[in-house]
């Protein structure tokens, strides 16, 4: 599969979005949202990670097999977090 040459404009747009998301996440930390502070911070982090993985790491332009490899690590991490917390969160 030929490797795509991504236009500089795209990289600039991603970089600006990442900096904006950083500003939002820091700003939100000073607002009391109760339980939602954590959810908001994590949602923004996931959004930043997706932008980096898709564009800077070229997952969007790569072969589909790379998606499987990239997804595997996060999938196993999700299994570990979910199952361990299923235990601790349900203890009396």
């Amino acid at each position: 599969m030929p490797h795509t040459i991504v236009p500089t404009k795209t990289y600039v747009a991603i970089f600006v979005s990442l900096m904006a998301l950083l500003a939002i996440t820091v700003g939100l930390a000073y607002v009391d949202l109760g339980e939602f502070n954590f959810a908001a911070a994590m949602t923004i982090s996931v959004a930043k990670a997706v932008l980096i993985v898709a564009f800077f790491m070229h997952l969007r332009y790569g072969q589909r097999l790379t998606w499987v490899f990239a997804g595997a690590g996060f999938f196993w991490l999700a299994i570990m977090l979910t199952l361990v917390m299923c235990d601790y969160a349900t203890r009396p």
Binding site: M1, P2, H3, I5, V6, T8, Y11, I14, F15, L18, M19, L22, T25, V26, A29, Y30, V31, D32, L33, N37, F38, A41, M42, I44, S45, K48, A49, I52, V53, F55, F56, M57, H58, G62, Q63, L65, T66, F69, A70, A72, G73, F74, W76, L77, M80, L81, V84, M85, Y88, A89
Partner: protein, 214 residues
């Protein structure tokens, strides 16, 4: 005589196949890295779930003034890294070299800020074992937070250090003209590693510095 061009290694049929294999190898390594950091994130999740007040109080002793700018530095470095890979892909040797060095310098900048931060933590008696003092309740649980803080950020800083060394090596290779447009995948791969280290920090920053609201 081998019947392929000398650009790619003999076990591959085409250059593209070699690039895909190289990329896949790095992604495999990164998947193991996710689990490497994942174990510690698991410890963190357990600690934060079990001792929410202590973790929040401990987190508020860290300075967003260190962590925030450091996040920005790493995002800048990822940007220059992406541009370096693009320059290498287009065979622009000088530009690629300059951008690789710039990326490494951002990494060094990150480490310098981190060093000052560790120094502040030491002065404020927040270093478990060596110099730790906690006035509030749940001192042991607050200490657990700082154990996790130092292990997670220390491990991350180690990754940044390794990244800076490899970036400098690749910069030298690029400068000597060893990285042609056909071999740009070398830059692409160190880029994958560098972006991954950036992503780890993207999660560490809110997890460590932004617990609750400040």
């Amino acid at each position: 005589m081998p019947d392929h061009s000398p650009v790619h290694a003999h076990q591959f049929e085409t250059l593209e196949q070699q690039h895909d294999a190289d990329t896949m190898g790095m992604w495999t390594f990164l998947a193991t890295e996710v689990l490497f950091f994942g174990g510690l994130i698991m410890c963190y999740t357990f600690g934060r779930f079990s001792y929410p007040q202590a973790f929040e109080a401990a987190s508020h002793r860290l300075y967003v003034g260190y962590g925030g700018p450091n996040t920005a530095i790493l995002l800048c470095s990822s940007f220059t890294m992406a541009l370096a890979a693009r320059a290498a892909q287009l065979g622009r040797k000088r530009k690629a070299t300059a951008l690789l060095i710039l990326t490494a310098l951002f990494g060094v900048g990150f480490l310098i800020v981190k060093g000052f931060e560790y120094h502040t933590d030491y002065l404020e008696e927040l270093v478990p074992r060596f110099r730790f003092h906690w006035d509030g309740p749940e001192a042991a649980h607050a200490e657990l937070f700082f154990w996790l803080y130092f292990v997670l950020t220390g491990l991350h800083a180690m990754h940044v250090t390794i990244g800076v060394v490899i970036l400098m090596i690749v910069a030298v290779l690029s400068w000597r003209g060893r990285i042609t447009a056909e071999k740009y995948v070398t830059v692409e791969i160190i880029g994958l590693y560098w972006h991954f280290v950036d992503i780890v920090w993207v999660f560490l920053f809110p997890l460590l510095y932004l617990i609750g609201h400040r």
